[in-house]
């Protein structure tokens, strides 16, 4: 009996281990293998191309645009959605009434399907019939133009302002102009992500001991900013690390808005990694290069996780 009980533990973990291998590790290994080939779906065979796919990735401008689009998106969405999420959480935490109401409102974009919401935004931001540009155009010549052209501030020429110029020519093609497209896609990403971050921060705030705020008050921290610096922000450290990691990973994964609206354009300004994987691997059936992008993507995510695990986590858990 003693001998058989030695192996019992192995039998208990076997289902989990085998499923993990089959569903998670094996596909990664397959993708890694395919990234060194020129395999296309449906082909009988494939040939070994070595590092060619990777060399392409790091030499062709398409792929440097891809990396820069993904990184720009992440750098826009992560800080802004986290900042807004934290701000909203702090405000909701401080109100006595309607907290649940605000929570629901801000969380709605998270629950909605991003693909459907992207289509709604596409209509809203349509250059001619969209609500946004129509509203902006309605304001031309009215008080809104006077106010938002900022001509009333001394030293600013109202006629040269963004608004007045828009009134004279036209308002931007939000998704069609490459100087706006990434910003607009990122805006939708922020709109969608910050409610989620807010909920995570709200959960984090409930675990901050009230006595610490009282101690801070007794120590003379009468400014809200001092209490935030002394108590809230450090106590939210673990939450922030988690929120940053998860938002970054999710931002690297952005796909729905790009696929529904811009298709990576104009001139590759929104050609993010997930969309590139889809375009190369599925649409153009170039499994080799698709797998190579996937692996680079995985490395990004893995690096992030490692940074979180080994460098940051140690600094935010105090006990």
């Amino acid at each position: 009996m003693a001998v058989s009980s030695k192996n019992t533990g192995f039998w208990f973990v076997a289902p989990a281990v085998s499923l993990m291998f089959l569903l998670l590790i094996a596909p990664v290994l397959v993708a890694a293998f395919l990234s060194f080939t020129d395999y296309s779906l449906g082909n009988q065979g494939f040939s070994w191309v070595g590092l060619e796919n990777y060399i392409k990735m790091f030499s062709r401008s398409t792929y440097s645009k891809m990396i820069s689009a993904s990184v720009t998106y992440v750098l826009l969405v992560v800080p802004l959605s986290i900042g807004l999420g934290l701000g909203a959480a702090l405000l909701i935490n401080s109100v006595r009434h309607f907290g649940d109401f605000y929570k629901t409102i801000y969380f709605l974009p998270v629950m909605a399907a991003l693909l459907a919401m992207a289509i709604v935004w596409e209509f809203t931001l349509h250059p001619t019939i969209g609500l946004v540009n129509e509203t902006l155009a309605d304001g031309c010549g009215a008080w809104t133009e006077t106010v938002f052209s900022f001509g009333w501030i001394p030293g600013i020429d109202g006629g040269q302002s963004w608004y007045s110029k828009g009134c004279q020519d036209s308002f931007p093609l939000w998704f069609g102009d490459k100087s706006y497209s990434m910003g607009t896609v990122a805006f939708i990403g922020i709109w969608q992500a910050f409610g989620f971050n807010m909920v995570l921060y709200l959960a984090g705030l409930t675990s901050v001991p009230r006595e610490l705020y009282q101690a801070a008050e007794m120590d003379g921290a009468y400014r809200a900013w001092d209490r935030f610096r002394l108590v809230t922000w450090p106590m939210l450290g673990p939450t922030t690390v988690f929120v940053v990691t998860i938002t970054t990973i999710r931002s690297f994964q952005v796909f729905d808005t790009v696929e529904a609206i811009t298709h990576g354009g104009p001139s590759k300004s929104t050609y993010v990694m997930m969309y590139a994987i889809y375009e190369k691997g599925i649409q153009q059936n170039l499994m080799g290069i698709g797998s190579a992008i996937t692996l680079v993507f995985l490395v990004f995510v893995l690096l992030l996780t490692l940074v979180q695990r080994y460098f940051v986590e140690r600094k935010v858990h105090y006990a």
């Binding site: 006595e211 101690a215 008050e217 007794m218 120590d219 003379g220 009468y222 610096r229 002394l230 105090y318």
Partner: protein, 378 residues
């Protein structure tokens, strides 16, 4: 230099009154203890003094100035919390620096990164560190300055919390059950240290505890609170020897005072269990309760005196220096505790039938409404 005056403090949470008009006058430099069972409102009262809790009615005066519209951070009080409430991400040194930095440095000098641009910051940092080092030496925690609170034992955290309160030299220290998270031996040790600290600082201490022993051993004066009222306010000695209320008498002292059913007869003579205790009162009549502390119950037989209660010993508690004999009188189910010397207790076995007698000078009487009844000799 500030005396603290509380007048008619009232507070309720919803419909539940927590404080029902508390008046207290705390002299400058006094060690005052607010003591009472849990839920008596003592912590709420302390938090009202601190300014962490708003009051419904009444006034808090510190140094003659009304504090009702002054927020906690501006009252120049320091508080030691039961959980210590140290900032877990800061080292001991930084924890102790915090109140000084908040007081002495301007908003911009404290600002991250930008603050270093101010030359005045450097000077202030040096003087703050000096004060912190000095305080840490006094409290014998100077070797712990680099550690984080998570790496400290309960007693060390307690000292750091004290240090953080001390550095600013506030007008008064408020302490909310600061010893209750320590083990018994350390608690007894810290009692003496806190009392010594108070003597050397000469600052007002307002100390909240549910432990009557802490109140008796440390304070200059103590206020016994129950159900939102201060029942009695006086020196520990007064409160122990001369409780004005049955609840105070029962709460202060360990083991508890014994209460025996008694009565005052038509001649005003007081008796309990049918045996006179040689005391009388000529204004009250009828059933009363006789209070005798365990050390005032003499374990007999004492001489040939017939006026002794028969006492059945059910349990002996050995405290080394003393024995407490538990048992009952006349077969009633009320547990009575009497103190005996170890020599005497050795001769008494569990189940023994002995005699006990109250020391008449130390016997108290209480009316049914908890009021103390004065007794005279005879």
């Amino acid at each position: 230099m500030a005396d603290i005056k509380l007048s008619d403090i009232q507070k309720s949470y919803g419909d539940i009154p927590v404080l029902k008009g508390v008046d207290l006058q705390i002299a400058d430099g006094e060690f005052l203890t607010l003591v009472g069972p849990s839920g008596c409102g003592k912590s709420t009262l302390l938090r009202i003094i601190a300014g962490l809790e708003a009051l419904d009615q009444g006034e808090v005066l510190i140094g003659g100035r009304s504090m009702n519209d002054v927020r906690a951070s501006q009252r120049d009080l320091a508080m030691v919390f039961q959980s210590y409430a140290l900032y877990p991400h800061l080292s001991v040194q930084q924890n102790m620096e915090t109140p000084l930095r908040l007081r002495d440095m301007s908003f911009w000098e404290r600002f991250p990164v930008l603050g270093h641009l101010f030359p005045s910051r450097r000077l202030k940092t040096v003087s703050i560190q000096e004060i912190v080092n000095e305080t840490a030496t006094t409290l014998k925690i100077d070797h712990l300055l680099e550690r984080k609170p998570g790496q400290l034992s309960g007693g060390q955290r307690q000292r750091v919390a004290l240090g953080r309160a001390m550095v600013r030299k506030p007008v008064a220290f408020l302490m909310d059950e600061p010893l209750s998270n320590l083990d018994a031996a350390l608690r007894v040790h810290m009692r003496a240290e806190l009392a010594e600290l108070h003597r050397s600082l000469k600052t007002t201490f307002i100390y909240v505890t549910h432990d009557q022993a802490e109140a008796l051993t440390m304070s200059d004066r103590m206020a016994v609170m129950m159900e939102g009222n201060v029942l009695q306010f006086g020196t520990p000695d007064d409160i122990y020897k001369d409780p004005r209320d049955k609840r105070v008498a029962a709460f202060v002292g360990s083991p508890k005072m014994n209460f025996l059913p008694g009565e005052i007869d038509v001649q005003g003579r007081v008796s309990a269990y049918g045996i006179p205790i040689h005391k009388s009162n000529h204004t009250e009549k009828g059933p009363i309760e006789i209070g005798v502390r365990p050390e005032h119950l003499e374990v007999g037989p004492v001489g040939r005196n017939a006026n002794q209660w028969p006492f059945t010993v059910t349990h002996k508690e050995n405290l080394g220096s003393d024995f407490f004999l538990h048992g009952h009188i006349n077969g009633s189910d009320q547990r009575i505790v009497a103190r005996a010397t170890p020599e005497k207790a050795q001769q008494i076995s569990i189940g023994a039938e002995i005699k006990v007698q109250a020391n008449p000078a130390m016997t108290m009487a209480f009316a049914a409404d908890n009021r103390r009844i004065e007794l005279v000799e005879g």
